[in-house]
């Protein structure tokens, strides 16, 4: 009985595309994800929720189209998001991206948007889609 209710509830949550984020729930981060989900649906009617696996692939790369020295998010944020990163060009330390070790991550929508708009062109040679942004946050919220 109880397991069934749980799996129904989980199914609903996953359907909203915020399943993993709930593991480390935070109202601001959830709000940011809800916003990206609405945008993703508008950009693509067949949008069916965010995916941590796609987020991982975006994070790890390698990608073409951007700058060769930063062909993955991991180039600065490191392959293990629980560890401190390092800016590939300036050498500046970057705090971990994994929400489990850095709960402040993805909680300020202006900061999050500003960095997506800078980092995606460097890595991909183009802006990230709303779905990619949500995938990325979903992956790291589960790390």
């Amino acid at each position: 009985m109880i397991p069934m209710i749980r799996s129904v509830a989980l199914g609903l949550v996953a359907g909203l595309g915020i399943g993993t984020a709930l593991a480390a729930s935070n109202a601001s981060r959830d709000g940011i994800l809800t916003g990206y989900a609405a945008q993703a649906r508008a950009e693509n009617p067949s949008f069916a929720g965010f995916s941590a696996d796609r987020g991982r692939a975006l994070y790890l790369g390698p990608h073409t189209g951007g700058k060769p020295e930063t062909n993955a998010c991991a180039a600065c944020h490191t392959a293990d998001p629980k560890r401190e990163g390092r800016h590939a060009i300036t050498g500046r330390a970057i705090k971990p991206m994994a929400v489990s070790v850095n709960p402040a991550r993805f909680t300020d929508d202006a900061d999050v948007e500003k960095r997506f708009s800078r980092d995606c062109p460097n890595v991909l040679g183009r802006a990230c889609t709303a779905q990619e942004k949500g995938d990325f946050i979903t992956f790291l919220a589960g790390q």
């Binding site: 390092r86 800016h87 060009i89 300036t90 050498g91 500046r92 708009s117 800078r118 062109p121």
Partner: protein
């Protein structure tokens, strides 16, 4: 030995390098929240004293193509940060150069062999904190 201020002033007038060394020994820490935040993401936020006002003006004129990166900000932040940097700028230095690391006083103080700059923990000349632990507090004196 501690020299009286008058002697220091005379020495400074005689050799500009001495003037720079004295002037840069104690750099005032940044006391402007927006500059600290927006200019301290990709590298340490450089103190205004490290460049003359003209150099800061050039940097703030073109944040969209900022040393190969996009550092653009909303117009009000640009106005505020420009005002802070230029009104607290250094009195000396070449205003045509936008790099601290190309200013003559800097290259004289940092005449090291090439392998130093390619050390993985240094990576770039602009990574002041790699060698000056308390550079973000304006302390460059002791290494």
């Amino acid at each position: 030995m501690r020299l009286p201020a008058v002697t220091l002033a005379i020495l400074a007038a005689i050799t500009t390098t001495a003037a720079f060394a004295n002037e840069m020994e104690r750099v005032t820490p940044i006391a402007h929240a927006a500059t600290q935040k927006e200019c301290g993401e990709c590298h340490m936020a450089f103190q205004p004293q490290l460049l003359p006002a003209a150099s800061w003006g050039r940097i703030m004129d073109d944040l969209a193509t900022h040393f190969g990166d996009n550092a653009s900000l909303d117009p009000q932040a640009v106005v505020d940060i420009r005002a802070y940097l230029t009104s607290n700028a250094g009195r000396l230095g070449d205003g045509r150069l936008t790099r601290i690391t190309e200013q003559r006083w800097w290259t004289r103080e940092h005449d090291f062999r090439a392998h130093i700059w390619s050390r993985p923990d240094v990576r770039s000349k602009s990574n002041c904190t790699a060698c000056h632990r308390d550079a973000d507090k304006g302390l460059y004196e002791d290494n």
